[in-house]
């Protein structure tokens, strides 16, 4: 929970950024012993210096993006355990931290399998459900908004989400479509409209299912929260993440599907643009709200359809960038850092990113050429990523070491650099992971 100081309105964006980072850095932790506390301090101060782009003793290595599955899989954890058996993750995670002494805490994303079962979640398949036990989750694309529904979305994105999208995405939530239009509940008799669905058996049944699913979720969160606290207690600081997307990707990934949205650029460009614009205020409010609630100083973007391969630079600058930039600028004003996980390559988009104010971004690259990244972005932003998943999976330890050494050397004189993978992988070896983590310690 982040509480704004009294003089918030007089503070500059960078002062607000510092206030959020201070709150994160000073959050109370119960340590197992004084050594753990001292180690935590060293780690979190180094990380803070990196986030402030100030001089520090060495870069850090963050295995989260690449190795988070491997670090539990190496102890026999299966894909299905990440979805159903969250208590099985605790020991492997603690063992990993004790054995490898990472620079930051490495978590595993927990998926609420039991809640999904109860709600008949359609957007994914998962291990132990329709996928074999060794797999975690797999997105299934669908058209959750039909082309002729753009107008509904543009008129009221929140109502669309509540009454059209959620009933399709979760089978058990179909009765949400019965909800009234809230902004017209005003006069005495409108209470009838407001409550009517709540009196109907299918709606009531849905509410019971939701409560049951909520109870299951609390169990999962309890286990995960406890594991996180234990990792912190042993000396490893974590930076929470709020996962978000760009307006174009919410529309493309979730509502229209990849092919759908790419065709919409030709078939209904004006509606697509209007829908992206309708998203902006909704997203700003919701991201600021979740950063306040969680206390995490960053919004973590997974970036999909703006990559080099997906569209021309002109299309990017027309459809993808403007509304995204508006959101990021608003977050910057609020002191929130945009952490960009840039899937695929962004070789042509670096100049766009460079338009953002200093220290507003962390840029995490997958396959983008890192030479130009160094040139164009490394004085302004925190840079990370690019160690290939293929190398971690199928390369030798020497190859991993050489690749990481090169990256560390390339960014030697950059103000803020974090060594990280470009993409996750299931398989590697402890030796390769150690070679990756040691590359920053030379």
């Amino acid at each position: 929970m982040f509480v704004r100081p009294d003089n918030w309105n007089e503070m500059s964006p960078l002062e607000r950024r510092s206030a959020r980072l201070d709150a994160w850095q000073n959050a109370p932790v119960q340590f197992v012993n004084p050594e753990a506390e001292a180690a935590y301090k060293v780690r979190i101060e180094r990380l803070r210096k990196i986030y402030d782009m100030e001089p520090h003793d060495r870069p850090i290595a963050d295995p989260f993006m690449g190795a988070s599955e491997y670090i539990v899989r190496r102890k026999g954890v299966q894909g299905t355990d990440l979805v159903y058996n969250h208590e099985k993750l605790r020991e492997p995670l603690l063992e990993f931290h004790r054995e490898f002494q990472p620079d930051v805490a490495v978590g595993v994303l927990p998926y609420p399998g039991r809640s999904w079962d109860l709600l008949d979640f359609k957007l994914y398949l998962w291990g132990g459900q329709k996928l074999p036990d060794n797999l975690v989750i797999q997105a299934v694309e669908g058209e959750y908004m039909m082309p002729d529904e753009y107008a509904d979305f543009i008129a009221d994105p929140t109502a669309f989400w509540l009454k059209q999208y959620l009933p399709r995405a979760y089978g058990a939530l179909a009765p949400l479509a019965m909800l009234p239009d809230f902004p017209k509940i005003s006069e005495s008799v409108d209470t009838i409209d407001l409550l009517l669905p709540f009196g109907m058996p299918p709606f009531q049944e849905m509410l019971h299912k939701m409560m049951e699913a909520g109870n299951e979720l609390m169990k999962t969160l309890g286990i995960v929260g406890q594991t996180g606290a234990m990792i912190a207690a042993e000396g490893f600081p974590a930076m929470g993440l709020n996962i978000v997307k760009t307006p174009f990707d919410y529309l493309g990934d979730t509502l229209r599907g990849t092919k759908g949205i790419l065709m919409d650029m030709y078939r209904r460009p004006n509606e697509l643009l209007a829908a992206c614009e309708a998203y902006v205020p909704v997203l700003i409010k919701s991201i600021v709200g979740s950063c306040d609630r969680s206390g995490a100083p960053t919004a973590f973007y997974v970036l999909h359809k703006g990559a080099d391969a997906f569209m021309s630079q002109a299309q990017f600058e027309k459809f993808y960038w403007p509304t995204w930039k508006q959101v990021m600028m608003a977050l910057y004003e609020e002191g929130i850092i945009s952490y960009l996980f840039i899937e695929g390559s962004y070789n042509k988009r670096l100049e766009n990113l460079a338009q953002m104010p200093d220290k507003s971004l962390v840029c995490h690259f997958d396959q983008t050429d890192m030479g130009p990244v160094k040139e164009i972005l490394s004085d302004k932003f925190i840079i990370t990523g690019n160690v290939p998943a293929s190398l971690m999976s199928a390369g030798t330890t020497d190859e991993v070491r050489a690749y990481c050494d090169n990256l560390v050397e390339l960014f030697e004189d950059a103000p803020a650099y974090i060594l990280a993978h470009g993409c996750y992988f299931e398989n590697t070896t402890d030796d390769k992971l150690r070679a990756f983590m040691d590359a920053v310690k030379k």
Partner: protein
């Protein structure tokens, strides 16, 4: 008139394409001539893609426009002969993986460059690749995959060809995280970074 069709396609005017095709047929233009015009238009779009001036949206839309034209022409045409093709290729996304956008683009570019392409779709098991090569007599196979979990199915597919005694079939792989490391790991003949690389590799093998 067929220049108008070519322009409509290369300018991505989807609705005009259908109208012009119908108009050409009404005027008595032979379906094969209309197809020739489409082919010319596709060549233009393919060139643009190669030169970095067209991207996935244009290729998907071009594919859709081609489908609507051939749907109109099909009832009026005899089977297309494949005798003048450069060679036969079987392509698909490997088992466990459903990423098909890139695979479709590779198939499109191979087709455009004169290959007879059999597209097996997504989540294709190794046996299916082998059977299809046996049935079609294809000499080249393209495996696409985006997941790290696709590395092993790719390896298994390469092994399945060896096991079936089809050692002469050339296998190329590509997609997201695929690179030279994975080529070595899977034992494929080559890896291609993009659809142009797929075309170059295929041409070098026929």
């Amino acid at each position: 008139m067929s220049q108008e069709l070519i322009d409509a396609i290369t300018e991505m005017r989807e609705e005009d394409v259908v109208a012009i095709t119908n108009q050409l047929l009404d005027e008595g233009v032979a379906p094969t001539d209309i197809l020739m015009a489409c082919k010319q238009a596709m060549d233009v779009i393919g060139k643009r893609f190669e030169e970095g001036d067209a991207f996935i949206p244009e290729l998907i839309l071009a594919g859709e426009m081609m489908t609507s034209v051939t749907d109109i022409l099909k009832p009026r045409m005899a089977e297309e002969s494949t005798s003048d093709k450069l060679g036969k290729i079987v392509i698909g996304t490997v088992q466990g993986d459903i990423h098909d956008i890139a695979k479709d683009i590779v198939a499109f570019m191979l087709d455009l460059n004169g290959f007879d392409v059999t597209d097996l779709g997504v989540d294709v098991p190794p046996e299916k690749f082998v059977e299809t090569v046996q049935d079609t007599g294809a000499t080249i196979v393209g495996l696409s995959g985006f997941l790290t979990l696709a590395f092993d199915p790719m390896k298994d597919t390469v092994a399945a060809f060896k096991a079936a005694g089809l050692d002469d079939v050339k296998i190329m792989i590509g997609g997201g995280q695929i690179d030279e490391n994975i080529r070595q790991y899977t034992g494929a003949n080559a890896y291609g970074r993009d659809a142009m690389a797929a075309v170059d590799l295929a041409k070098s093998w026929v």
